[in-house]
Amino acid sequence: MGTIVFLILFPMIIAFILLVVKGDKARDVIVIGASAVIAAMSIVVAVQFAAGGGDFFSFNGEVVSYIMMAVEAGLCIYICITAAMHRKWLAFIFAIIQTPLIMWFEFTRGHGIEVESNLYIDRLSIIMILIIGIIGTLIAVYALGYMKDFQHHEDEKGNKDRRPWFFFVMFLFLGAMVGLVTSNNMIWMYFFWEITSLSSFWLIGYTKTEEATNNAFRALIMNLLGGLGFAVGIVILGIVFQTVELNSMLLIGSVYGDLVAIPAAFFAFAGITKAAQMPFNSWLLGAMVAPTPTSALLHSSTMVKAGVFMIIKLAPVLGMSNFAGLMTMMVGGITFLFASCAAISQVNAKRVLAYSTIANLGLIVACGGVGTAGAVWAGIMLIIFHAITKSLLFLCVGTAEHHIGSRMIEDMDGLFNKMPRLAMCMIIGIAGMFLAPFGMLISKWGCMVSFVDSGNILLIGCICFGSAVTAFYWLKWMGKLTAVVAGEESIEYGVHRTETFVHITLVVLVVLVCLLFPLLSSYMLVPYLEITFGGLAGGIMSSGNMLIMVIMVAVIVLLALFGFGKSRKPKVPIYLAGANTGDNRTYYGSMQKEVAFSLRNWHMEKYFGEPRMNLIGDVLCVAMLVIGLGYMIATLVSLMGGVM
């Protein structure tokens, strides 16, 4: 247990140290040192608890609870003041309702509820801790170099150096995430949940421009709405079931599934907002104004992963049989389809990544909603693969942006020649995002099988069409990256060593996870599923199929090592209707005038225009949420009526 508490508190302590350290050198040392410690410690925790079937710790709660409450009250006041200053009254209202609600609950009802264990750790938490501890800290290390360049630009604009604040929030975030995935007491989880919401508010608003502030508030408002759902869920859970513990909630759920679905629907709603599902996806897109490491952090190892973690955790009480499950899976499925479609029309690399994140989260949410062992297997696999590949892609785009001066995909023409190493990292990342046998496809496979088994026809439709769309937008980007443009020189010098280190480490992780995922499945996922769902939970994929996938990865890697770019055939100019001037970039036009050609991708605005996709997705998802939550409230009211 000590190690877990260490992993929660240590990043927070480091955060406060980073807040006061101003020198670049000192910050480098502290961040790299602390990251190494956190990563090592998360591996220690994994080794320590991997064998157990889920350990629960009572952890004397009284004092801690009071501290948390005090901090929460402080944060509530802080939010109210900031919101009032910026005239963001929605944030004000949401904050002023939920914190007092939780406090009222704790003072009046909470005392009567015995909390047996406040903290716990099982294999799912271990996976989350590894993601937070390794991917999260890698992003922090990357941020060192990136933020130097970033500050360089800021200095030119005359903005003051606020990097200590940036790193403070980053490490605070990591600590809070570990707390979130190891809390068994829902009130504690709520506390960490609110800290992550606030941290992302700070990170998004980092540059303090008007756009950044507005987007930060949008994120805050949506997440506070989710937080409100969380608070309502806790109150219902406490009053109706006399418990605030996650494990007891799931236990009761195995007997009284229909009743537990009521608080579960509210918790799932909180998860949906945090996982940026439609209609709440706009906060994650708005988050793009922040420096790239922020996006990487929000998209891969923290924040949105907290949302899907919640829903995966709730999976046993969701499912086809109740409205909470139906609501969750439909919101996820619809978001997957329409976010994937919207990604096609995007020209900005970061926005493509953002929509792909939203889509993948949608798939995870849908898996959690389906709530069978197979679906949860696919969901957890998605969390793992997505965390690694998405952070890799964001960090690559960040570096590219600083060197080619643009984050538009069309400007990545010839990146293969300009920045070969970076382009390769990106290509591997993209392959990891959609192409068999790499990563994500394994989980998509799992999703497909479990959706079919669940018998939800609409979900099947979502995944069939969504997958086709996904392949389209990734491949056209990948094509752009692989194009060998003649006459481009390498400009890959001057990439920070920390950035290159992080890229390479993540690439190695992508390949390793693809090669070792059968082990991951049989030693981490399957035991977790067996404990959670009872009985033997064979993986979705047969071991033979897993083996074939691994062999395919190995074949591609080996062929790449021996054959990539090794062709000895004489090079000839490309075909330009016989009018190639010889440099492969211009041709003789009329009057022998030399004309340069340029190639552009398809964005199919007419079919997959972003506003339209968002509108359809929003309307459908709002309908699902209204039906789901409305049904739950109606059930609750009728129950209460029965009691009175």
């Binding site: 997958s467 389209f472 056209k476 990948m478 194009a483 060998v484 062929l559 090079k571 075909y575």
Partner: protein
């Protein structure tokens, strides 16, 4: 079981290129007859590929061959997995990797003709992919297994319960075979404005391998047609094989009866077919079985 799988694999590896090449020859003969020409000998595709292998070795970029190699490997691998009785999802995912690497190979040359071809090929993929997935899911819902060997051993023909999906599959075969009206990315006919589209920058031996891979791919795609009629009896086999061959010549017939349509039509019609024939068939399966 294992012996059956090995027989399947060996038969596919050895026979598929001959069957595929022969079908291609008959295709050209039949097309010629429909156009009142004499046409080349039936074995012409083999002569063509033989010739390609004798050509001078050239390449526009050092990286292209690697992608083409992966295309060849994965297209053949998908057929091998299919004919060894493997998992249908694995089969189509493998085929998708193959298709993806052909597109990447075309992109890598940075040639306008090849890239336009690659983009249109990508569009074709976007158009046919949902129907492919729905087909596989339909087989699973009806027979309860994704494995080809289990579907073959099933005791009733999936054809009637999967009627809508069968016609949906026939529809996307046109896209997959790159036949008119959907020969957007490259065409065997002279009316191609993109020179040879996606294959513009492949020459000699490389092009030869691509042709051979297409033969493998065509046989494997017709194998799917066969699967609709498999019911573990000899007449199931006969019907399956006959219908598969008929399906091929039906595609040739369509090819000669239509001019090329715009990509918008290809995309829209394929998705409408997937929704109307595919999803409704899935719904019926869900209700009835």
């Amino acid at each position: 079981m294992i012996i059956k799988a090995i027989i399947g694999i060996v038969a596919f590896l050895v026979l598929a290129p001959f069957v595929g090449g022969l079908l291609a020859g008959l295709d050209r003969k039949l097309s010629a007859k429909m156009q009142r020409r004499v046409g080349p000998p039936v074995l012409q595709p083999f002569y063509d590929v033989g010739k390609l292998f004798q050509k001078e070795k050239q390449t526009p970029t050092r990286f292209q061959d690697f992608y083409v190699l992966l295309f060849v490997v994965f297209v053949i691998a998908s057929g091998v997995l299919f004919f060894s009785g493997g998992d249908l999802l694995l089969v189509i995912f493998t085929l998708t990797i193959g298709a993806a690497f052909l597109i990447i190979a075309a992109y890598s040359s940075n040639s306008p003709y090849a890239e336009l071809g690659a983009e249109r090929e990508l569009l074709a993929m976007l158009a046919y992919e949902p129907m492919v997935l729905i087909t596989v899911i339909g087989f699973y819902m009806y027979t309860g297994s994704f494995r080809v060997s289990d579907i073959l051993a099933g005791d009733s023909m999936p054809f009637l319960p999967l009627l809508g999906i069968f016609f949906g599959w026939l529809f996307i075969l046109t896209l997959k075979f790159r036949k008119s009206p959907f020969d957007l990315s490259m065409s065997h006919h002279a009316h191609q404005e993109l020179v040879r589209g996606v294959t513009t920058e492949f020459v000699g031996r490389t092009m030869g391998w691509i042709e051979i891979s297409h033969w493998y791919e065509n046989v494997f795609l017709l194998g799917f047609v066969f699967l609709f009629f498999a019911n573990g009896t000899w007449y199931g086999w006969v019907i399956g094989i006959v219908v598969a061959i008929l399906a091929y010549f039906f595609e040739v017939f369509i090819d000669n009866c239509f001019a090329r349509m715009k990509w918008q039509f290809a995309f829209k019609s394929a998705w409408i077919v997937a929704v109307v024939l595919g999803m409704i068939n899935i719904f019926v399966l869900y209700v009835c079985f």
